[in-house]
């Protein structure tokens, strides 16, 4: 699949604002809605969820949770996501090409997730309304298409129909096509068998890989500042995926020698700092020690790996989150590019994770753990040192 070129130029420093000044300023205005150090401090001091709610009413989340008398972490998460989606949709409606496509690209990630959820739910005969309710609201696509996914028959013909609907009607269709084509070339089986035999999580990882590659090529075609900043974000994302996939495959069938060079290798994105030399090395890795040796060759990941290998307080996921927040915050340091939109969505996601974490800790009385989150735009972040403005 070739990534289509953007339909218009994003513009440089002097012309960017002509088309995208408004949405960019919007998203930067929204940046002020992030919870600050003070808010986090107050939240972590709460004793009950009611206190949390009270504290949140004074933040940007006030309206979102105003309708709930009592909150649970799940309710809070749902409300926060709804809020993010509303904001994102607003941005989307205010944007023109090529920003519009860029924003769509951000939603594809969630769309892939939703398609997989629907497919899996369909295989186990779940109720479609229930499934749609569980979908991530950012990855919604045409409802009629969503409804038609689980209605296919469990037969060769049904699978062909499904293939048609998923392929043709959704923006993530091309990724599916690529995945199915590659799988059938590889294993010589048809679409039905692929969908039946391959674990859903692996299909998802493959689709995400195509998505990252596609997205990366798209931002490169946009060029300029966007290509630099967004390109870096996606490269890092691709590397993170590759490392995580390798690390998490240990102890699963994916780590068997035969699978390593075929199935696992196919999950590594073909972009990023690790590609191609690093990913080639990763195919051979079979345990943590070997993985550490490979990552030692890449200074930026060696540091992260050493945090994991030392078995300290932080898990590798935490370290990656920290690194992500750091690089996403950097995107806000520069103007006249699209990276901020992606960074905004991702940082908000981190914030929602933080909120859920804090409320869960309060609910479960785990006060010792409550500070183990990664605050966004915090003055206490390690990469800011103790410098204050």
């Amino acid at each position: 699949m070739s990534t289509p070129a953007p339909q218009a130029a994003a513009g440089n420093i002097a012309t960017f604002n002509i088309l995208h000044g408004f949405p960019e300023a919007l998203v930067r205005g929204m940046r002020s809605s992030f919870l600050g150090d003070q808010d986090y401090h107050h939240l972590t001091q709460c004793e009950t969820l009611d206190d949390v709610r009270l504290n949140l009413t004074e933040t940007d989340y006030g309206d979102a949770i105003a309708d709930f008398n009592a909150i649970t972490p799940a309710v809070l998460q749902k409300a926060a996501i709804e809020k993010l989606v509303t904001e994102f949709k607003y941005l989307r409606t205010q944007s023109v090409e090529p920003l519009a496509t860029f924003l769509d690209f951000i939603t594809y990630e969630y769309m892939i997730e939703n398609v997989m959820l629907l497919l899996k739910g369909a295989l186990s005969g779940r109720d479609i309304n229930e499934l749609i309710e569980q979908c991530h609201p950012l990855g919604m696509f045409k409802e009629s298409t969503m409804r038609s996914i689980p209605t296919f028959e469990n037969s060769a013909r049904g699978y062909a129909d499904l293939y048609q609907t998923v392929l043709v009607d959704t923006p993530v269709g091309p990724y599916f096509a690529m995945f199915l084509q590659e799988s059938s070339e590889h294993q010589g089986t048809d679409a039905r068998h692929v969908l039946e035999e391959v674990e859903i999580e692996i299909i998802k990882s493959s689709l995400i890989k195509y998505w990252i590659e596609d997205f990366y090529h798209f931002v490169q075609k946009i060029g300029g500042e966007t290509a630099d900043i967004m390109g870096e974000l996606l490269r890092v994302r691709a590397d993170t995926n590759a490392i995580n996939i390798t690390l998490n495959s240990f102890g699963t069938p994916l780590n068997e020698p035969a699978m390593r060079s075929s199935d696992r290798k196919r999950l590594y994105p073909a972009v990023g700092h690790l590609y191609p030399a690093g990913t080639t090395e990763l195919t051979e890795v079979s345990n943590e020690e070997e993985l550490g040796r490979v990552l030692d060759l890449f200074p930026q990941y060696a540091a992260i790996w050493s945090m994991h290998a030392s078995g300290g307080d932080k898990s590798i996921d935490d370290v990656f989150y920290e690194r992500d927040v750091q690089s996403l915050e950097l995107a806000f340091e520069s103007q006249f590019h699209f990276g901020v939109f992606y960074a905004y969505a991702k940082l908000k996601e981190q914030e929602i994770r933080n909120l859920v974490w804090i409320s869960e800790c309060i609910l479960q009385q785990q006060k010792d753990e409550i500070n183990k989150f990664v605050p966004v735009f915090s003055f206490h972040s390690p990469w800011r040192g103790s410098k204050r403005r």
Binding site: T72, A74, S124, E360, L363, Q364, Q365
Partner: protein, 116 residues
């Protein structure tokens, strides 16, 4: 009896997910051995599910969240079979309260009354 009996779970999403990850889940064409009780799940649905699970003879233990057990206490009171055993467990949002557990009431009565 070579296959052993199943462990059934009636609980909130976290509880059920956890035990499914631990490997108790069993879903066949006839149905599954777990029920996720959400905010909008009807009480009758829980009752029905409990009745069904308690009448299946391939189930040895029914784990049920205490707050859900409280909701269907009337059904549990009438339940007097030994197997499947109904075990009340804490849930994430509702810490365990021994006062409400029938078995614990018995235990406390015995230990308290009889003296240790």
């Amino acid at each position: 009896m070579d296959v052993g009996k199943l462990v059934a779970v009636i609980g909130d999403e976290d509880t059920v997910t956890g035990f499914l990850l631990a490997g108790v889940g069993h879903r066949t064409a006839e149905g599954s051995n777990f029920l996720i009780v959400k905010q909008d799940t009807q009480l009758t649905q829980v009752e029905e599910s409990f009745q069904k699970l308690s009448q299946r003879n391939d189930i040895g233990i029914i784990l049920i969240n205490q707050h859900i057990a409280n909701d269907i206490r009337h059904v549990l009171k009438d339940y007097n079979q030994t197997i499947p055993t109904v075990l009340e467990i804490p849930s994430k949002e509702h810490p365990y309260d021994p006062e409400q557990d029938y078995i614990m009431q018995r235990v406390n009565m015995f230990l308290g009354g009889g003296g240790i």
